[in-house]
């Protein structure tokens, strides 16, 4: 249930972002790009083992032989690590996706800052933010 709502949310944000990118105003395009980057961040979070209440900390008790989480590959048996059997209660969430999302957020902050400054300079040069009037190059 939780995952279904999450998927629908990601899809909706992607859709709204794409709609905004296809508008004519530069500012709307930039807002659309930010929305798409948020949707992608949510997608990355949802690819990890996702549960609302747990922390990304693996203690020794999880790493021992008693737990069902597999940490090393056994390719001959078709087991790919790190993996959690379906239906099993996970004691932690995936720590890697948070690192990935943090990187993606920082990068999207940098690109958004750059593109906002560029939009400001374009407004200074052309006196408009309508991309139909920005056609001096032939493309």
């Amino acid at each position: 249930m939780n995952n279904t709502i999450l998927s629908i949310t990601i899809a909706l944000i992607f859709g709204i972002g794409t709609f905004l990118i296809l508008r004519r105003d530069i500012i709307k395009i930039i807002i659309g790009l930010s929305l798409i980057s948020h949707a992608v961040n949510m997608l990355i979070v949802s690819t990890g083992v996702f549960d609302g209440e747990k922390a990304p900390i693996i203690t020794d008790s999880h790493h021992g032989s008693g737990s069902e989480i597999i940490f090393t590959d056994k390719l001959s048996e078709g087991i790919l690590a790190p993996i959690v059997p379906s239906g099993m209660e996970t004691p932690f969430v995936d720590p890697l996706v948070q690192a990935l999302v943090l990187t993606a957020i920082v990068i999207s902050l940098a690109t958004t800052a750059f593109i906002l400054i560029l939009a400001y300079r374009i407004h200074e040069e052309y006196g408009t933010t309508d991309i139909r009037k920005l056609r001096r190059l032939r493309g």
Partner: protein, 512 residues
Amino acid sequence: MNIQEHLPILVIAIPILMSALMIMLRSRPTFQKTLNIIVSALILIMSVILLLQVWNSGIQVYEVGEWGKYGIMLVADLLGSGMVVLSSGISLLALIYSLDYIEGKSLNTTYHSLFNLLVAGLNGTFLTGDIFNMFVFFEILLLSSCGLVVASENGGVTKVSDKMEATFKYLILNIIGSMLMLVAVASLYATVGTLNMADLSVKISALSQAGTMPWHIYFIALLFIIVFGNKAAIFPLHYWLPDVHPTAPSPISAMLSGVMIKVGAYGILRIYFLVFKDALFLLQPIIILLALITIAIGAIAAVGQKDVKRLLAYSSVSQIGYVFLGIGMGTAYALAASLVYLVNHAIAKSMLFLTSGGIIHHAGTRDMHQMGGMVKSAPLMSSMFLIGAMSIAGLPPLGGFIAKFVLFDAAILGEYYLPVLIGFAFAVFTIFYMFRAWLLMFWGEVRDSEKYGPYSSHGLSPMITVPIIILAAAVLVLGVYSEPLIALSSEIANQLLDPQPYINAVLGGSVR
């Protein structure tokens, strides 16, 4: 603590460090320039040592942070370290060229810093063994190249508003490409739970052999065509290139057209032949089709141009199509041919863009119809442009001839007769538009050479001519004595088709 073990991280870390240092040294321009040239030459020497080391003793693996395959790894195989040598060579020459070409105010403040970031991004992309890390280096490349495209040159050859508009297109299209790459990377992570490319390769081939390969792996592979096709500007995604590459200052155009679009070709080679080798049967016809359309569209559009840099940019679109044609055919000989083509195009096209900077400053205009008879007043530029044009057009004895010959030979041996026919037809187009440009600019009546256009002219200095002459010598040497390059490319192609040594080097003994 042997310094040679640390070469893969040094060629990335030193430019990043220099980029911070250059901002601090902005009040001492002379020291800044000297230091940057020395460090660039040092990076070139280090990359050559790295290539020799890889050639002699196999693939070098560098674990950053000792986390094994769960952390970030730098892997220097022959393809990666060869591309690093190519990019650091061209970037050293472009840097020397830009010291006199870029306007002083822009040069002393941010130019050196951004240029070092660009070098770091290129080296990082070529050496990383981690697919998410490749995304991070793509973003470093994107932002630093955007900052460099808007740098202003001496004489105001390009209007500021043009630069803004071109950068806006470049930035928007490449951000969308990066977002698609993140979606693809996240989907790969959700499917097989790893980001290391060698690990991905092992797990996907294990899934494929067990017969449980999920169907969406094919869609992820198709998404990567969009991502790398956008970087390399192949057919449906090439519209930004003819705006961005001409509006950038000439040394940056040389970097963009010479090395940056090769990043897309490198990504396709790396990702498809390592990770998605089980999906290649589906992808190869698509790549060949897109490559042929790219060749045709680039060549046809280049014929009608009157701006010299725009013609060269459309020519880049056409030539990257030939590289992708070789990649699409996928035999060992075709891959080697495609790599030979890539190196030859990188050197000849960067030389042509550097030469076009000199031509524009001599003539004071970018419109080829307003130039004419410059063969007497600019003999050096004229002969250099002729060498570059002959190499791109594929006339012997220059490097481009060997590249085209090997590529068509590989295609005929692989029985791809229709692609050869189309490629050959548009190779004739290449000869036509390149010599039309040369005739328009250097032959014919001498025009009023002082007052062509609104730009102030800027004399040629050794800083500008020496890099062009070095690149022209490289083009000649690659044409006359091409055996080492072909041998290296064949070795790289064999490594690409058999990735087991790569996987063993990355995964062997690294699991904690």
